[in-house]
Subunit: 454 residues, 2 copies
């Protein structure tokens, strides 16, 4: 009979809300400092806005909302009789919960194109929902914090997004994150060199295991996937891909000489890398990673992914990239976009593991007034009204309960100060202020009380 | 082919988000100053948590989420064949979107009772969803901002909620709101006096028309509803219910002498009214309104409703009350609760109508750097990096576009300052700062730039 919540969802306690707000405010402040503007879109969209945009897997994971009223009345009798859930869905459900913030953003840009000044720098911090199997760091309701620019192909934006990651993670005290960067055009170049676009994922997946299983086993895996010995020879530099980012760029340039697109990718990457080298980063590392192939379906230029500091076991805590045709799905062609996302829930888990929430102020009163009855209560409420007008978080214990009970309440909520005001204090127009940590007590006037607690 | 969003939902532009955030921050700050702590609950709950809690009408307006996968496979064949939408719903949908914040809060309290320190003062600012017919000020997705206390019957809480309304509306510059207050026990007393509980709503609805249609027609309506002449005689004071709140209390006391419960209500109301008289309000009016009967099904003590300033046509912008058995629906008995809600979307419309958003800072950069190419861009990005480190919102125009285009962008976004830095400025290690409002231009070093824009 004990009530529960759906799996993959969470209640957030006051402490958890405070910690989450702390992260979100750091991200929000940085977004605005970088010139991004907030928008918000509805939690549910028309199904045809979302369906077909995330692949078959995505379509399955989108939460659909049942039509209101007699939803079966207009549905096809044959589908009903055959219990064809898949085909019936579009007939009994026309709305669906947001699956990410990118597609609703594209829809927003197209719908509001006449009100928008391009290039449009927007940010959006809202929950999304996925009917995924829950596990550590993966939930059915979670927040995304996205910043995107549409309407410009300038690589300064890639530079800026790297700085933005560095700014936010430095602000949160998260040192030594690694911002991995790749470029879709380099991946295309590698595909050209190994002789097959369709082997690219097999190739990067195998190469990614180099540290763990060694060159011999990686090559064996590649061969088993149908990549030729000759192709592997041509990309030998990737098996000893070390040194500075500039060294890596040099090595890529040599390797990809036969691919125009690959060389274009190297040039783009060089602009970003050398600009960041000039501008400097506060605490993050920037690292070229040619195995980074996330979002290969839609990214057309830069690809980003952020790894938590070494030693923390957690998937990526952020990612993004450039997509040359974001709004094409809604009929507005040739609008280039680039954006990044912060994974709030994973960042939370990382900060928690590293003990980085210590400085977060919990939303609790600074002072509790003990309640001795109606007359004393009114005397206290007059003082509390003044304290609150001075933005001092304060409250009266609501009931004239036993002193011990009231003090236990103050202790449980870790309230720093308690005010005791009985008939003596009322006669002298003063208050007894007790520091709950040191135990120290002193008498003071209302003005002194305000000064001490401010 | 132009994309759209579901009816009753809205996109929020950067300006709208800024205005909404302004209201939410005022409410949030006041909640915390009064000692309330934030919690958050999932957007969807198990259906059995919500269904049956809001009456038949409510059940109909709750948005249901379709089960994932082959949802029809386990459904009852007879219901499917008969196309019985109503009965099939619980078989193909086990989750539903939050309809308000009160029931999820009750569920939260029961589920987490062992972690909570009582009395528990919580606030919650989250969207809710209702499949209602959209109209002005009524949406299918809207935010509620609730503060509640559970675990104490103290009337100081009613006093505090009135102060809280006054604090928030004063902070928002919304003068002369009217906080209407009633008490369920007074309504019960009136029901006793008129001789029938089931005539109470007919009675208050008719009485509410007194100003508009006059005493004669109100009495005629009451008689047509089956209220006797004799009963109407007994409540004559309500037909000339004027004067101060204390006058009204005196009149109610005389009228309800035969009803123990009614007198209890008068006493409770007197405590609240006289405490507020002692403590004072900044800008709101507090007014006893015996026709106030909202939420009659669940309120057991005080009933609140806030009306916008006279002259603004808008339904209530807030409401609340006391419910003696909030958590009983989830098996935890005898926990009294009292709470209020702020109607964010309606408050928005009122502030907009009264022109009270003037002071809200829009999220836009303070300064735009004109882009003259890669070398100049890097020179500017170095300065921008310093400005941002000093929390100055700034950005580089991403492309080396024509000057006119870049200046138009600055004008369209109403950016106050523009920095121009070409080869001359680079050679002199300075910047040309232009005030876009006055047209004034001056040359300055990076340090001077930071000082001027800070």
């Amino acid at each position: 009979m004990k009530p529960s919540i759906p799996k993959g969802t969470r209640d957030f306690s006051p402490t958890e809300v405070a910690n989450r707000t702390y992260i979100m405010n750091a991200i929000k402040t940085a977004f605005e400092t970088y010139g991004f503007q907030p928008i918000e879109t509805p939690s549910f969209e028309n199904s045809d806005t979302l369906m077909g945009k995330y692949g078959e897997e995505g379509d399955r994971l989108i939460f659909k909302i049942l039509n209101s009223g007699d939803y079966l009345s207009k549905a096809d009798d044959t589908l009903i009789k055959e219990k064809d859930s898949l085909k019936l869905t579009s007939q009994i459900s026309e709305k669906a919960l947001r699956y990410d913030l990118t597609v609703p953003f594209a829809r927003y840009v197209v719908q509001h194109q006449n009100e928008i000044t391009f290039p449009f720098k927007r940010y959006q911090i809202q929950p999304v929902w996925r009917a995924d199997r829950p596990q550590k760091g993966r939930f059915r309701e979670f927040f995304q914090c996205d910043a995107d620019v549409v309407g410009s192909k300038s690589l300064w934006q890639e530079v800026e997004f790297i700085q933005l990651y560095d700014t936010v993670f430095s602000k949160l005290g998260l040192q030594q994150t690694t911002i991995k960067i790749n470029n879709r055009k380099i991946l295309s170049g590698i595909a050209e060199v190994i002789g097959a676009q369709d082997k690219l994922i097999d190739f990067t997946v195998a190469l990614d295991k180099l540290d763990k299983i060694g060159q011999e086993k990686v090559e064996a895996e590649m061969i088993s996937k149908g990549i030729t010995e000759e192709a592997i020879q041509k990309v030998q530099p990737l098996f000893s891909f070390t040194g500075s980012n500039l060294d890596k760029l040099e090595s890529l340039k040599n390797m990809l000489q036969t691919s125009e697109e690959g060389l274009q990718g190297v040039q783009e990457l060089r602009f970003v890398i050398s600009s960041i080298a000039e501008l400097g980063l506060q605490s993050a590392n920037l690292e070229i990673d040619v195995t980074l192939a996330r979002g290969l379906n839609y990214y057309t230029g830069a690809i980003f992914e952020v790894a938590a500091p070494k030693g923390v076991k957690m998937g990526s805590i952020g990612g993004g990239g450039r997509y040359d045709d974001l709004t094409g799905i809604f009929g507005m062609k040739d609008v280039s976009g680039v954006g990044i996302s912060f994974g709030l829930d994973r960042i939370y888990l990382v900060l928690e593991e590293l003990g980085l929430f210590k400085t977060v102020a919990l939303p609790k009163p600074k002072v509790l007034f003990v309640n001795f009855g109606d007359a004393e209560g009114l005397y206290c409420m007059k003082a509390i009204t003044q304290l609150r007008a001075n933005n001092i978080k304060s409250e009266l214990y609501p009931d004239n309960a036993k002193m011990k009970k009231q003090m236990t309440y103050a202790n449980n909520r870790e309230i720093e100060f308690v005010v005791i005001a009985g008939s003596n204090e009322m006669n002298n127009e003063e208050f007894t202020l007790k520091n709950m940590i040191s135990g120290e007590q002193s008498n003071c006037s209302l003005q002194e009380l305000i000064q001490k607690l401010k």
